[in-house]
């Protein structure tokens, strides 16, 4: 589904990613761990094609195509989708309109909004005055309407209260077809700080991003326990 080959990225003249290699197969969910400032968000936004993130070396292969030079629009059309950690406010654009855009004109988004108890936000401007949890719900609803094949989630649990964590977890499971036991089509790359997501879904692999490179890879649950016990520095030393 996705392959990153020696990806070097700079933001405003500063090198952030320094040779990232990563492979995500169809149906797999990967978790990306890493300290604040290690480049996790940069990696996700680079994958989506945001112009602020300049690729200076390497390639992004998605569904067998080199998409390194593609715009976010072209990537979205190919089946990539992202949930932002801090999305911008769109003045005058209602969530209802946004869901229509995501669903490519279908009314799927509005049905989902009702299903996830978010219908009262349909006529609100996108992200205007939304709380942390509301932003996350709105982002995931947009993604559900969009129905991408590769789902990129930037800390979907941050700012979400305990009550809503469960709903967020359910939405992510739905996005990644976790109900299907086999022949899953959807893949995911999820940034997680708290590891909370692991309580809601089985992830296939974990990676640690440190100083712009991917270090250990392995079972995400075990890795998270290691990080909790010894911190990221230990992982950097170990370099499995």
């Amino acid at each position: 589904m996705l392959e990153l080959k020696d990806l070097w990225v700079e933001v405003e003249g500063r090198e952030i990613l320094k040779g990232v290699n990563l492979k995500i197969e169809q149906g797999e969910t990967h978790i990306l761990f890493g300290k604040n400032g290690s480049g996790k968000t940069t990696l996700l936004l680079t994958l989506m094609g945001f112009s602020r993130y300049k690729i200076i070396n390497g390639a992004i292969i998605f569904k067998g195509q080199d998409i390194t030079a593609f715009s976010p629009h072209e990537r979205a059309k190919l089946g990539m989708g992202i949930s932002f950690q801090r999305p911008p406010t769109l003045h005058g654009v209602r969530l209802r309109d946004m869901l229509t855009i995501c669903g490519n004109g279908s009314g799927r988004g509005e049905i989902l909004a009702t299903q996830y108890n978010f219908a009262e936000f349909l006529d609100r401007e996108v992200n205007r005055g939304f709380s942390g949890g509301e932003i996350k719900k709105s982002e995931l609803l947009q993604l559900l309407a969009q129905d991408p094949d590769l789902v990129l989630l930037d800390e979907p649990e941050s700012g979400v209260d305990v009550e809503n964590l469960n709903v967020i977890g359910q939405m992510i499971k739905e996005l990644l077809q976790k109900k299907l036991k086999r022949h899953r089509q959807k893949s995911g790359l999820i940034i997680s700080h708290t590891g909370f997501i692991l309580n809601y879904l089985e992830a296939d692999k974990g990676h640690i991003l440190l100083e712009g490179k991917i270090h250990c890879q392995g079972n995400p649950r075990e890795m998270f326990e290691e990080i909790q016990r010894h911190g990221y520095e230990e992982c950097a030393r170990c370099r499995r």
């Binding site: 094609g49 112009s51 629009h73 979205a76 769109l90």
Partner: protein
Amino acid sequence: MQKIEEKAKKALKKKATYGEDIELEKFIRQAEPVSYANLDPEEQKRLHQTGLDLSKQEHSGAFFQSDCSVVHCQSTYKGLEVLPIKEAIQDPEKIKDYCWRAVSVDTDKYTAAAELDLDNGYFIRALPGEKVIYPVQACLYIRKEKFAQHLHNIIIAEEGSELHIITGCATSPHLVSGLHIGVSEFYIKKGAKLTFTMIHNWGEDVYVRPRSGIIIEEDGVFISNYISLGPVRSLQTYPSATLAGRGAVARFNSILVAPPGSELDIGAKVTLKAPGAKAEIISRAISAGGKIIARGLLVGEVPGIKAHLECKGLILSEKGIIRAIPELEGQASGVDMSHEAAVGKIAQEEIEYLMARGLSEEEATSTIVRGFLNVQIDGLPAELQAEIDAAVKESEKALI
């Protein structure tokens, strides 16, 4: 009356405070009479765009003036008077308290010209307690090349009444140059409500000088919506509202687009003279290459008033200029006044956010522009909001 005439004569050469000075002599004052049947399909379409649809059943009254001729003037609701102003003036009792009371005749040479050489205009009055649900349609149209149209309008919402007026001022699609001088006086009595929605469609070399004054009494509400989305050579207007009674409310919303070669100098002044009075001036300005000056002045004279001014500008072209001049003047402690102004281009982050949801760059830009211009106006009938939405949608095609 003689005194007014004298004052006007003295002001005939008086330049306006704002805006380019216009030589009135360059325009002509004679035009042939016009009837609706004279208008070709293209002109009728133009009128339709400004909201005038005489075939529509759902209006309470209508007024249509082309150059100096009143083509159509009718009230279909018994609690509503719609008259050509020249007819209303014949009855001094009717207008004695309302003529040149909200606007000074010697404001500048344009007000003076309207007094001394008047073509016509409308007199619209909602009788006490009458709720005139369907909007009154008014259209002031310039058809003759180089014609200077001189108008004087008086609008009265009597005590406890409710009135909605939609006015489309326009020039013929065939016309190159013209001048519109329009004096409008509004009197909102105790507990009355008036919404006044203007959708304007001018030509590339047309000069526009509206002069408006509004007096709002206790618990009266005045809402003005001004929309100008097409080209115009020079437009300068600065209506002045006085909130004279307790709890009086004035709101000015404007949605402006300046294509290349257009200059719009638009503002509003509200003086809050009584406790509990509230005022809001909100503008959305887009420069697609032209120049926009968005002014706003709020004067709070007594404690217990609340006033807010908001000006947002979006520059879509390298050559565009937007100047926001928000001013607040508090004359007592205990006034609550604020303003915010922001001018800039569309944030790349917002465009890419939408692109990540599947829109092309063009579609994303257009969605943001539409959102920017999307001002939901409280207290406006759905039908008028739909008119505004349609006008905005139409302009968007030209912008992107």
